[in-house]
Symmetry: C2
């Protein structure tokens, strides 16, 4: 396992090239939660949809390459596979540093992610399946290309941890941090940054119920793998399994929350509405878990929620807006409103 200093070092390396994404809050959200819990909690969001490529993934990819540069082993050719934001992060980092980049993507990947990956200058090849993308990546690697994995590397973990580190530097001062868990890169980095800064901060991982492999793995003490990418609207966490490397961290965090699809959609709608930021379903996981955790807290808490990104395609927008959850707010405000109408 890395030391927390690895995150600070990553931050020094990558910060000059990245956006310092803001911490944001919503008074209305906090009032709604107060009406429900009768305890005044503070919810602070780290807005990584405002990061380069619209997601935290730019951090780990850039850290990986700059670390190579420092070692004097800057690759000439980079290869990656991804059906999500990782491809964009790698393509962007390579484009900025002038490194040639080859990305393999399953053809079901949304057009906007293909388009963005190409717009950063990467050579994109579509494959029939994810397995084929991995296979072609392995071949490119054998042929000499430098492989940047989506989460299973120290450089990725340290890079992703910088989102939490910045939040702490900027005064978030949380009692608890919530981050989504796919392969575990963001969550492990968050764990390092939070515990390194203040061991008293609780760190929670969040998964969809339908993609709860990390939670199962931690409960059983053995890495559980879905036979295929699990179906969930939170497309950033469809990774079938964590890796032995990330599992070491995940065993140590304070707990996992598993969120129903309906609750993911509910919080996606509400966070888009209240924050006026594009909150992709994966980003809503943290708030859904925080809401559950806060239900059991009798003392005021300060919560940091890492909003992982904001890349949403037409199909996902349609899924998000099938029902109208804005009519049912997180507190009891609605009943108050209905009373007000009657009076």
């Amino acid at each position: 396992m890395l030391s927390p200093e690895a995150v600070s070092e990553a931050h020094k390396r990558i910060a000059p090239f990245l956006n310092r994404t803001p911490l944001v809050q919503s008074n209305i959200l906090e009032e709604m939660l107060y009406e429900k819990n009768r305890v005044k909690h503070t919810i602070i969001f780290k807005a990584e949809m405002l990061q380069k490529v619209g997601a935290f993934k730019a951090r780990g990819a850039l850290n990986t390459l700059l670390e190579q540069k420092e070692k004097g082993t800057m690759p000439k050719e980079v290869v990656a596979y991804s059906s999500g934001n990782h491809a964009q992060g790698v393509a962007w980092a390579c484009g900025m540093l002038g490194v040639s980049c080859q990305v393999f993507m399953p053809e079901f990947t949304s057009f906007i992610k293909q388009q963005a990956t190409r717009s950063y200058g990467a050579k994109l090849t579509l494959t029939k399946t994810r397995a084929e993308a991995e296979e072609l990546t392995a071949k490119a690697q054998e042929a000499g290309a430098f492989f940047i994995p989506p989460f299973d590397s120290d450089a990725e973990i340290a890079g992703q941890g910088t989102a939490c580190l910045e939040s702490l530097q900027d005064g978030a001062n949380p009692n608890a941090v919530f981050a989504p868990c796919g392969g575990g890169g963001l969550l492990c980095g968050t764990y390092l940054a939070a515990k390194g800064f203040n061991p008293g901060i609780k760190v929670f991982g969040v998964e969809p119920i339908q993609a709860n492999d990390a939670s199962i793995s931690v409960k059983t003490g053995k890495i559980f793998r879905f036979p295929a990418a699990p179906e969930t609207i939170a497309d950033g966490v469809r990774t079938p399994a964590v890796s032995p490397r990330t599992f070491e961290y995940l065993k140590k965090i304070d707990g996992f929350y598993e969120i129903a699809e309906r609750d993911i959609i509910y919080w996606t709608q509400w966070l888009n509405h209240l924050l006026k930021l594009t909150v992709e379903p994966t980003s809503a996981l943290g708030m859904a878990a925080a809401d559950k955790w806060l239900d059991a807290q009798t003392q005021p808490q300060r919560v940091l929620v890492i909003l992982s990104g904001g890349n949403i395609d037409k199909k996902t927008w349609e899924q998000i807006w099938q029902e109208d959850h804005l009519q049912n707010n997180p507190g009891t405000l609605r009943s108050k409103i209905l009373n007000a109408v009657q009076s």
Copy 2:
């Protein structure tokens, strides 16, 4: 007509209570426009969806009340009617200053706007029609309540102009500014701020083709009124006519653009995608017009687009995502991408 100083004075008055909303840019957007025009333009957005109540409307309402306070005529009871963001602005300003507030809204107003108006503490009464809302407002006014009109007052105009003023103070330094035009409050304030700061800045108003009453009025020299609120997805500019007061300013601006519904939706999708901010259709009008204006520019231009707000309900989200415009980008990047696939 007001002098530009009225906007600076309004700003001193209201700034301590409001968010200093950021100026944002998109590299990808600018690259796409470059690919189309072969001239490097700069597009700067003023992000008023990040203002209190999610729209610029908080500015004018607050300025109105604080001006009364300065004069020692602070009302005890405020009344307003609105089917949109104005109600929220008035309710919020009253709530913050501890003034009792009564809002009349036609019952077709979206639930989220009703909910927000109530959450700021206003007493909300739903009416069958907009005419009935206006009638009840007039009665409340006769009974002694202080009426805050949606746009037809000096205090509103000066207040709305502060969004542009802040942009100029923050270094936007534009050659041209684009703002949507409903009743004209935002556009008139923008005109004052821009011309007062630098008379060389061009100021353009933007309307949906289907709600082009201001444009018709300026062309014919006489205020044109739609018999009813015109139908458009840009629900912030459905006002049937401008007022004699705002018309005086509108006659002097550099021109009007009329935007097709399809183009409003196109730019709503693209701005939500590129900026990761919630851009309501009314906000997209300015970019749609800027795109048209830039097509005719042979020299690099700096453009300021006022994004008016970000309040979108389920029905409007569904309308926005009926087609997928993200597959057709603003430049010729798409053809480049398709070539890249083939090569």
